[in-house]
Every structure is written in C-alpha cells, then in structure tokens.
C-alpha cells in the first residue's frame, strides 16, 4: 500500500508539473506534449509502471478491506469514532472515486472519446518547414470550457486531496518512520501537500473558466 501509494503520489506530482506548463502558453505546453510523445520508451515505461502500481494498489486495498471486515464479523450495535479523521475512514471510497475519475480523464484527453475537438492540430514552421502537431493546449482549453467537465474535474481533485491527506502521512507510519518531533510536521506537511497538489491541478480549469487562459 505504502510503496504503490508513494509511486502513484510521485506520478501525481510529475503529471502536475507537466500540466502547469499550460500557464507558459500554447507553444510551451504543446512542445512538452510533443516531447513526451517523441519519447515512446519513456511514455510507455511510465504507463506500464503506473498500470502495475494501480493494479497493486487497488488489489492490496481490496484484499485489506476483505481481511479487515472479516476480522469483525459481528459489528457493534452502538458505533462510535473517537478521533479518526473522515479522510482516513473513507480511503476505499475516495480511492475508487479517483480510479473512476482517472478512467474518465483518459477517455476524455488520452483516447479523445468524449470531445470532438480532441484531435485538433496546429501548424507551425520549424527551420523553414511546416510541421503539423497535436494541439494539446487547444484540447485542454476546449475541454475545460465545458463547465460540466470542469466541475467533475474540480470535484475529483477534492476527493484526491482527501485521499492524499491521509495517505501521505499514513505511508510514513506504515514504513515505520515515526518520531516525536518530526511526525507532527509530517502530518501537517501531508495535509498541505495534498491540498496544495489538488489546488494546483484545480487552478487550470479555474483559469480556463475565468477566461485567464484561452
């Protein structure tokens, strides 16, 4: 759980840094997309690695859930929680919602099933020659101009933030990294990082919706 969660967390940060290039304009963003697709080895390596990590993470989560519900066959008539956070108690739900969102996201931007503008191209002149490349920037902007899709995306980021606000410090404890003076900082850091990541992702649809990026 901790190892696969950490790997997925690494992806979330890497993917975010790529996405934020959108704020540098159409050229920077499309060049990044072109570079990524020009490195098929890197791209497919990352994709397969991620797929394996998602499979591992989800499988472990389901096995864990099964064992944990089996460990208490008769439940309490009076259930109560002393202090566990809502985020920690809904990890499976938030995880599955993130998974559902990831599939929707792939269908939207990677497979281009949901949007007719997904295949748009731009033409530019490079060393005197005309080059046609995929207009990823245009696709993202058009995608987020759809308020409905932007709303789903923003909601998904809130769910991701909840998942990570527990996950990012939980993984330290799972690996046995706990210390009286560092742990409070790790717990705070995990929350800041989780909401910071989600906030940064959300800044893109917000920027598009407000007309700041077009």
């Amino acid at each position: 759980m901790a190892v696969s969660g950490l790997a997925l967390g690494g992806f979330v940060i890497g993917h975010l840094s790529g996405n934020l290039l959108l704020f540098l304009g159409r050229d920077a963003f499309n060049s990044y997309a072109e570079w990524l697709h020009g490195n098929q080895g890197l791209l497919w390596g990352a994709r397969l690695g991620l797929l394996a990590m998602i499979a591992l993470h989800v499988r472990t989560a389901l096995v864990l859930r099964k064992r944990n519900t089996d460990a208490r066959p008769v439940r309490y008539a009076f259930e109560s929680t002393v202090q566990a956070s809502q985020a920690s108690r809904s990890m499976l739900l938030t995880g599955l919602l993130v998974l559902a969102y990831v599939i929707l996201h792939l269908a939207h931007f990677t497979w281009g099933w949901l949007d007719s503008t997904a295949g748009a191209t731009e033409t530019l002149t490079r060393a005197g020659e005309e080059v046609v490349r995929h207009d990823t920037y245009g696709m993202v902007v058009a995608g987020f101009q759809n308020v409905f899709y932007s709303a789903i995306y923003i909601a998904a980021m809130v769910v991701l933030a909840l998942h990570l606000s527990h996950g990012f410090h939980s993984l330290f404890q799972s690996l046995g990294l706990r210390h009286p003076s560092y742990t409070p900082k790790i717990e705070m850091g995990a929350r800041v990082l989780a909401w910071g990541i989600a906030g940064a992702y959300m800044s893109i649809p917000f920027a598009v919706l407000s007309g700041g990026v077009s």
Binding site: L64, N68, A77, F78, T81, V82, A84, G176
Partner: protein, 248 residues
C-alpha cells in the same frame, strides 16, 4: 441517578445473542462502572434471572481483565482509564448506556460480555519473550541503559493486554498490543538480539489469529487505558520491513 442500560446478553459461544434493556433507578455517582453492574446483577439474581457475565479481577486498573465497550468506546468515555476505574459521575442522570463485549473474530464471545482473549497469549508464545536465560538478577547498572530508553521501554511495558486496542480499531487489528509487547523488549539490550525474528513471528501469529490490519487511524491510542502511543506500531512496522527485506 437513573440510567437505562442496553446490555449484550448471550448465553454461550453458539447463542445468537441480543441487546436487553435494563432501567436502573438507584445509581450513585460514586459507584464505579463495575459496581453499577454489580447492583444490576443483584436485582437480576433477586428476581431469579441470570446475572450479566463480565470480566473483572483487580478493579484497580492494573490487570486488564475488565473489557467493556461502553457507548461504542472501549472502557468508556474517560481517556486513559479502564472500565473498573470509570465512575458513574462520568454519566448524567437519564443517560442511555450501551454495553457490549469486545468485537473481533479473534476474540469470540464466551458469555454475555466475556470474550476469549487467549489469542493474545498465543501471540506472546510466538515470540514475545527473550530466549536466552539471563540468569539471576545482576548488580544494578551492570548493563547501562539510557534513561530515555529505560523510560520508553517501561511505557510500552505498561500494556495490560486488555484488548481495548483491538476492540476500538475499525479493523479489529492487534497492532498496538503487539507493537507494545515488541517495543518494550526491543528498547532493552537483552531484547534487541532477536528483535527482527520476534517481529516476524508475532505478526505472523497475529494474522493467523484473524486480527485485521492497521490502517493508521489511531483509535487504539485514543482508548488505550495505559495511553500507549502508536510509536509502538511504527517500531514494529520498521522491524518487520527490515526483517522482510533481509530475510525475504
């Protein structure tokens, strides 16, 4: 004061069991929670009914026998306190109080509120000891141990094995118990030698017994009557990972 109890009654291990309601009129706020149950049992015996079975021994918070889930909280509402040391002044006149046994597959109900906690003994048998004979007591300070280490070892060693951690864990995990038993030995030179092997053996036994897995929600730490910290779990996790990496 008056309280209304809702008590789990179950005739034996195979009985289905149910919650039974008992209004109780003459409760003094100075009674301990167990004394209040004694009063209930006296009235039950007088009216020819079977008294409620519940575990208790020292009634002074040191043996770990008492084990009541009170309104969904192990040992009741007062932090750092066993059910026998809880007093009725923690409740209000007119309160409804649910009393249930520890719930875990590894802690089967024997009768009413009494559960079988021998799974804990089997975990200790699997590795919660030092194998070498350490001889008779040595001169004090022959093996120097830092004050911080000695204090921490002692804090872990205060675990009375009551099982509140399992009862309160959303996953019925025994990690706080096992972590405490593991850590108090690992903190001392005599216990360090076998630490990795001990971690693996105790965790394996814990899984065999059917306890759940820790998901780091720390409900155990919140209810532990001895206020043992989840640092014990981190120590166990660390030793378990180390031992798994080294020995596969």
């Amino acid at each position: 004061m008056r309280v209304t109890l809702h008590v789990w009654r179950q005739n034996g291990p195979d009985d289905k069991g149910q919650i039974v309601r008992y209004p109780l009129d003459d409760v003094s706020e100075h009674m301990s929670f167990l004394e209040m149950l004694d009063v209930l049992n006296e009235t039950l015996i007088e009216s020819g009914d079977e008294p409620v079975a519940f575990d208790h021994d020292c009634r002074e918070g040191i043996c770990g026998a008492c084990s009541l889930m009170i309104n969904g909280v192990a040992h009741g509402p007062q932090a750092g306190t066993t059910a026998c040391q809880l007093h009725m002044r923690s409740f209000k006149d007119g309160d409804e109080i649910y009393i249930e046994p520890w719930r875990a597959k590894a802690f089967p109900v024997i009768k009413d509120l009494v559960v079988d906690r021998s799974a804990f003994d089997r975990i200790i048998s699997a590795g919660g000891y030092v194998s070498v004979n350490t001889g008779s007591a040595q001169d004090a300070n022959l093996v120097p141990i830092g004050k911080d280490d000695a204090d921490e070892a002692f804090d872990y060693a205060t675990c009375i094995g009551c099982g509140a951690c399992v009862a309160s864990c959303k996953n019925a995990s025994a990690m706080l118990f096992v972590g405490a038993k593991f850590s108090h030995l690992e903190k001392l030179p005599q216990g360090q030698v076998e630490a990795d092997r001990r971690a693996t053996a105790m965790v394996e036994q814990m899984d065999i017994e059917g306890f759940g897995n820790c998901t780091n929600q720390y409900e155990c730490q919140a209810v532990c009557p001895k206020e043992i910290k989840v640092d014990a779990i981190a120590r166990l996790n660390r030793a378990f990972s180390r031992s798994t990496v080294k020995n596969g």
